[in-house]
Symmetry: C2
Subunit: 212 residues, 2 copies
């Protein structure tokens, strides 16, 4: 059976799971969720798909999982890929997934949303400035960690890379400048050069162009 | 050897790990980090203890771990406690740990910090109002999930409970009102009635009283 991923193109959190499915070589297909039309926050979605009102949601026959970090862990268990080579590496992968959920993607996703997907006269400028400052610390930590390394954990690509990279490929401005972080810049190229890699708007249905 | 936990009383993220150590019955001791004096963000701490500049950090002989979710996972592996009874439950525990890191504790911790530990004339009121609104959604999801359940996952206390409860015991105001969320309220009592449970300011060194 083909694995289904409930997702939408603008969702960097969905992209983590979609990219893990894509690069692992599993048979999968996206199921479009009309997030901007309110579908993910609807009572039906909360009751039948995800009480947290969020994407992504993965369905593999009887298994239904939410939270990108859980889905990536499941894919690693199923394929042996991206989970880290040793028990120690697996812990280090989880460490970066948690850090990303707390400090990087959560704030990058929200800042991009506020700067691009909220009507211009309703954008909370103080909140945007605040989260951009916090994101500056996160970029510095990631860039520092990648100095002299090809991958965040160990000698190959893992879920740590897939989780942290996700929002950094989007074209909408949110204050991130690749050229200001040379180690992140080179690492993003390293990931996008992997066979099968696709940009979020090519890998998942839905993009700002659809609503233009 | 006694397990060491680098932590400080005000840190709800540290409290998750401290509570897991405490309730699992392991031999452990806290090592005070002078966060408010800047210790966790110092170059020495970043180089020698944690490049992410954060607490908690756990040291068990040769094993050094950061991120509360990783430390809780390690404690579960070592003791067989709080990790979930089945593989499915373990995934559900991880799901709530990730959700908590993204939507609950991250925002509760920040909002409490801004409302209590930043000088009164420097508190960003727009940011506080924004994160309080987002936290309202998180409380509603947790309270809804706990309707008719004693614990977040399965039939007993797990790391899902320990991660989500942590900031909700602190006395400083951040917009959370236990009485407005009856399922959360009863569940917090259920946790604090466990043998060995201690309030964060009793379990870890350091509290606002020290700086008064």
């Amino acid at each position: 059976m083909t694995i289904k991923l409930y997702c939408f193109g603008e969702s960097g959190h969905s992209y983590k799971a979609a990219l893990a499915l894509q690069l692992s070589g599993l048979d999968w297909e996206p199921v479009y969720v009309d997030f901007f039309g309110g579908e993910a926050r609807s009572p039906e979605f909360r009751q039948n798909v995800n009480e947290m009102g969020e994407c992504p949601v993965m369905v593999d026959e009887e298994v239904r999982l939410t939270q990108s970090g859980v889905i990536m862990d499941y894919i690693s268990e199923k394929t042996g890929k991206f989970g880290g080579a040793t028990r120690e590496d697996a812990r280090e992968v989880l460490r970066w997934i948690l850090w990303d959920n707390h400090k990087l993607s959560s704030q990058a996703g929200m800042t991009r949303f506020l700067m691009n997907f909220v009507p211009e006269d309703k954008r909370p400028q103080d909140v945007i400035a605040f989260t951009q400052a916090r994101l500056g610390n996160a970029y510095a930590i990631l860039d520092g960690h990648l100095a002299g390394r090809d991958w965040i954990v160990g000698d190959g690509m893992t879920n740590a890379d897939l989780t942290c990279c996700s929002y950094l490929y989007y074209p909408e401005p949110f204050g991130f400048d690749r050229t200001a972080h040379p180690n992140i810049d080179a690492w993003l190229d390293r990931i996008s050069n992997q066979p099968g890699w696709k940009h979020p708007y090519d890998l998942m249905p839905g993009s700002p162009a659809d609503r233009a």
